[in-house]
Amino acid sequence: MTTEATPGPSSTWRKVALQIDQLSKTFPGTRALNDVSLEVESGTIHCLLGGNGSGKSSLIKILAGVYQGDPGGTITVDEVSERSDRTTPEWARAAGLHFVHQDLAVFDGLTVAENLAIGRGFPVRRFLWSIRWRTLNRRARAVLDRFQVHVDPKRLLGELRPADHTMVAIARALQDQSLAGDQGILILDEPTVALPSAEVDILFGALRQYARAGQTILLVTHRLEEVIRIADRVTVLRDGSVTATLDAGQFDHAKLVELIVGRALDSEASAGVAVEGEDLLLEVSDLSVGPLHGVTFGLRRGEVLGVAGLLGSGRTTLLTTLFGLRPMDHGTTKLDGTRVVFANVDRAMDAGLAFVPENRSDSAFLEMDVRENLSAADLPKYWHRFVLHQRKEAEDARRSIAEFSIKAISEYQPFATLSGGNQQKAVVARWLRRKPRLLLLDEPTQGVDIEARGEIYRLVRNAVAGGTSVIVVTSDFEELARVADRVLILAHGRITAELLPPHIEASRITELVLSASAAEKAGPGAQEMENSHQ
């Protein structure tokens, strides 16, 4: 990418396209944004950075009109101001704020032209309302040319490379802007999460060109190396406040991590302590599958091992592979010193593994009752001499409801009528009843209220006291710091660091996750990048 030299901030005076003044947002019990002020200059790429819970997403949602800010602030787009407690999706659209979210909402099965027309209206003949295909494709061609997306509008979107999906989504969002003069603001929310590095280059090349043509871009990302490559200016949020706004050239990795985490980078290398000895329940060596490359680690009996990483780091793949949901390409896993390969989930279960998936839509049987949900993983226990002992099953369900403090009126209550937190407790209970040797938890407290969160971890702790080992993946690093005995940092499919007590702190985890993903990119990632352009 020779065209992508370090973006120099132009010294010429630029118009302010978006100005946020004294924006606050209070949720019951917490303040997500605290007196945030921010200026985005026209025709620049402005990055918004911050860790989990920094207020980034609240800010974006207020701009999109999904949330309203507290009274007292103002948001000015193109010199037109609006009170911050009065933003609506209609306002955002009228003001020219164009959003492209992480989930692009594009349709693989439709052509590029159809994707561009969806939500905007197809050109139709006056009488029969039949689509005027030639006009549709011609318009699409014009839009694609304007945004320099070099694809045939008649091709199915699903056949295109990933970066083109994002670019089509951007073109769709921006197509109604006038060609010159006043342009809206393109707001990209983590657009690169699902993109391989070569694809990120293509996307960034395009973004750079749009900016040069006068497009204002606000980019939300977790990836520092991307910020350094593309940002004209960066604003860092921490705990709902702006900690700094810096121009390109004024920051590097270390500086950004320091701003995000709130203290100077700990230069002390965290030497990974190799876990060895008799005590090991699980040994994973050189595991490669999907995004994972050569992952090696051990897990002790009765240990809670946390895994921290960004979305797309391979954290879910790690758990699903261990549980026999997908075969590994390379590597070995040993359980109790014996090599094991689980071809199927039931084999993994027989070996004493348990897995609570990230989404409850992958674990809840909503139409069935609480009892049936609790015994879903150990039903054969009640099958004896051609009789399913349902009374015993109901008794055990009642016991579990009490033991795991599930709020249910009876064991026959339809699962769908339980609250989210209680459903999740029941799902965890389903597995803990089996007394697993290894419990795999993927975001176990997502969408769960605070009280249930505490109870879920209390239940896990009890199991650990009974000898169960746990691997837990969560994006909530505060939570991870509280529950984990040891934390592995996963970035781009590799384990880049290990944290042991007393160094397990949320800020330290954030720091390592962010700098690890940056360091990784500078290494093999950069090489990959060059190769792809030869």
Binding site: N344, S361, F365, E367, E372, A376, P414
Partner: protein
């Protein structure tokens, strides 16, 4: 998952009543009454139909007789078995649209075996069941292993079977050389009840046991509720679905044998997609009662005979045959709407 909704009083009360009547948490008597109404609406309607046609002066003298009851009971055994056949795939969330045509195919198999190849009755029956199961195996393989939509696959199977039957029989019925004991079984009574009814009761009991009292049935229900979650609790979803289609096919085979026993011959017209529709109607109608929101054997059997006696009553009253058609179609329509509403309420999404 956004099922954060707090349970409504109504559904809670409903559940407690459902729990075998053992838990007596009396909350909102009105809504528990409502639930019982829902649960026993079909049996209630059934009773009303029987009383109405039994006492109405136009129909009473014919409808209320033992002969009429035997006639209807015996005539609907075939649809009853087809209903059970379609029930098993429905429980795991799949359609078997080929059950009717499969029965039609299997009646040709059993009749041909006896008439042309002089196979003894027991082996002919086994052969028919085996052929039915084979058709199910084929359906199941394509649906479960390749993940093709079951409605389309089984509709295709149905068409193929129809063609095969026409080609093989050349449009001719097979009526000579059929075992006399099979014909006797189709026409005799035992203890005042048609012998074929005992067959239906037997098959229904087996399917009831299978679905309600074995882990297998629970597994199928789990798959029907959430196939991905079922996989994550260690169920071999594809194998289980495959087996459901095999069971369904085997039951269609039994239904085919029964057709021959009842009709005394194997006609290329008997056993068709129309019968499949009647079976699906009964299965859905059954899911509105006894265990509302779930496909269940008792409800389905009640539904079969509710439709059977209603149609018989209408016939005796002298209404034209299209009225009966509209009645059956209307029953399916209402059943699907009501069971969808019940399901939605159980999911708390209303």
């Amino acid at each position: 998952m956004s099922v954060e909704s707090t349970p409504s009083d109504e559904s809670l009360a409903a559940t407690t009543t459902e729990s075998l009547g053992s838990t007596s948490l009396e909350r909102g008597g009105q809504s528990s009454l409502m639930f019982n109404f829902e649960r026993f609406a079909l049996p209630g309607l059934f009773a009303i139909v029987l009383i109405f046609f039994g006492t109405w002066s136009t129909t009473g003298h014919l409808f209320g007789t033992a002969a009429n009851f035997q006639e209807v009971a015996s005539n609907y055994v075939y649809i009853g078995i087809l209903t059970l056949a379609s029930l098993i795939p429905l429980v795991c969330g799949e359609f078997d649209f080929s059950v009717g045509q499969n029965a039609g195919f299997c009646q040709i198999v059993v009749a041909t075996a006896m008439a042309r190849f002089h196979v003894p009755l027991p082996f002919a029956v086994i052969l028919a069941i085996a052929f039915g199961a084979l058709v199910g195996l084929n359906n199941g393989n394509v649906v479960a292993r390749l993940g093709v939509n079951s409605l389309i696959v089984t509709l295709g199977t149905s068409g193929i079977l129809l063609g095969v039957v026409e080609w093989y029989t050349n449009g001719q019925s097979i009526s000579l050389g059929i075992s006399q004991s099979l014909l006797n079984f189709g026409s005799r009574n035992f203890g005042g009840i048609p012998e074929v009814v005992y067959l239906l009761v037997g098959v229904a009991l087996v399917v009831y046991y299978l679905l309600e009292h074995t882990p297998y049935g629970r597994y199928l229900t789990s798959i029907g509720s959430n196939a991905r979650a079922a996989r994550l609790v260690g169920l071999r979803v594809d194998r289980l679905k495959l087996s459901a289609f095999v069971f369904s096919g085997a039951l269609a085979g039994i239904a085919g044998v029964l057709l021959v026993a009842k009709n005394g011959s194997a006609s290329p017209e008997a056993g068709s997609v129309t019968d499949t529709l009647s079976a699906l109607a009964a299965a859905y109608l059954g899911a509105t009662s006894i265990r509302p929101g779930r496909f269940n054997v008792l409800g389905a059997m009640l539904a079969v005979y509710f439709i059977g006696f209603s149609v018989a009553g209408l016939a005796i009253a002298g209404v034209q045959s299209w009225v009966s058609q509209v009645f059956s179609g209307g029953a399916l329509f209402i059943a699907v709407v009501v069971s969808t509403l019940i399901g939605r309420r159980r999911l708390g999404t209303t």
